[in-house]
């Protein structure tokens, strides 16, 4: 999947299996990623688990888990809020119409989370106050949101160039069930044109959209980038710039300038 870290770095990673996104004194977030197509190392997220740790006087420990089959509007214990203060709540989001969306608000730590189902997979977005994060190198080992993906998990630019020449077949995996009918094969030009329908600015999100179309050939899944951009806008106040004044650049990304 494509990762935007707390440091505003963009990466495309393999990270197959279970990986931690965040692990601090407030919450722990873990995702499971599965292969999306045969012959490609690209994976997408099939499960998201968020553990809201107990916060004295505000909330008990709560666990939220979403899978491709189930995007619940409740924590695992069936409740929709934590504690009596109403400082941890789950609501369903409507609006932009890209997949079903669930928003979790943790007021006691100034944090909002949006989980979406787009196509057959999940997307995750979070906004947290910087002072609740610990950017030091000692901060709890592997956390993709904090430190990015390990170097050997990054999808390199040249990979796409080779693979985009070949048709894609939708893969199988144990969590996604039977083989799906193969989607159409996109050329770079067609993928670019398709992504222009939803993303006006040719930034990193646009490049991610092109990458996803070339990789999966699934037009529905190409909306993941659009949804991610919508989530960024829906989680104010954010000091992040949505469009860099510099030329779009995917840090160690799977989309090279020439291919996108």
């Amino acid at each position: 999947p494509h990762l935007r870290t707390f440091r505003d770095e963009f990466q495309t990673c393999k990270v197959e299996g279970a990986w931690p996104l965040i692990d601090n004194r407030f919450l722990s977030v873990q995702v499971t990623n599965v292969p999306v197509v045969l012959g490609s190392s690209a994976t997408a997220t099939s499960k998201i688990t968020v553990i809201f740790k107990s916060y004295h006087g505000c909330t008990d420990q709560k666990v939220y888990q979403a899978t491709t089959e189930d995007l619940p509007l409740a924590f695992q214990d069936g409740t929709r809020s934590g504690g009596d203060s109403g400082s941890l709540t789950i609501v369903e989001r409507g609006g932009s119409g890209v997949g079903r969306q669930v928003k979790i608000q943790a007021r006691y730590m100034g944090t909002s989370i949006i989980v979406r189902r787009v196509g057959s997979y999940l997307t995750f977005a979070i906004r947290m106050p910087e002072d609740t994060l610990d950017f030091s190198e000692d901060s709890g080992g592997l956390q993709l949101c904090l430190h990015g993906c390990p170097r050997n998990e990054l999808i390199k630019e040249h990979t796409l160039g080779r693979q985009s020449q070949q048709p894609r077949l939708q893969g199988t995996n144990t969590e996604m069930g039977p083989l799906r009918p193969p989607h159409q094969v996109y050329t770079v030009e067609r993928a670019t044109a398709k992504c222009r329908e939803t993303l006006q600015v040719e930034d990193v999100y646009f490049q991610s959209c092109v990458f996803d179309l070339l990789t999966t050939g699934d037009p529905e899944f190409s909306m993941a980038a659009f949804g991610a951009l919508e989530d960024l806008k829906a989680l104010p106040p954010s000091k992040l710039k949505q469009n860099s004044p510099r030329p779009p650049r995917l840090y160690n990304q799977g989309v090279s300038d020439s291919s996108a």
Partner: protein, 119 residues
């Protein structure tokens, strides 16, 4: 190593002049101050490795949590909440409200964003 700064902040936030008495065992404000002290020391862990004052503070904090029956999780605040406007628990469970109460509202809080999407 800035453990002395942590110590000073803790002392200031729990001194009689701050309106907060340590002998109020279950005082919500005291637990907040203690958690802030613990957080401050944790942030010094790397630079204070081997520092006797630091390790004494860590040991003492553990004792204080137990003595005052404070939970180690919960709100922290680097500044004393005025006793005249002691917030209700529900107010303490609102991050932005806590920021206002701690007097750091003038410092614009920054938020970080992380996202995972696509393939």
């Amino acid at each position: 190593c800035r453990i002395q700064r942590c110590n000073a902040e803790y002392v200031a936030s729990t001194s009689p002049s701050s309106g907060l008495q340590e002998d109020v065992a279950l005082d919500v404000d005291y637990c907040i101050a203690l958690r802030a002290y613990a957080l401050c020391t944790r942030r010094q862990a790397r630079s204070c490795r081997g520092d006797l004052v630091y390790h004494s503070a860590v040991f003492r904090i553990k004792e204080l949590f137990s003595q005052h029956n404070c939970s180690s999780d919960g709100p922290t605040s680097s500044a004393k909440v005025p006793s005249t406007s002691r917030p209700a628990v529900s107010e303490l469970c609102d991050y932005e409200n806590r920021v206002l109460l701690s007097g750091s509202a003038s410092q614009q809080k920054k938020y970080a964003h992380c996202g995972l999407f696509g393939d």
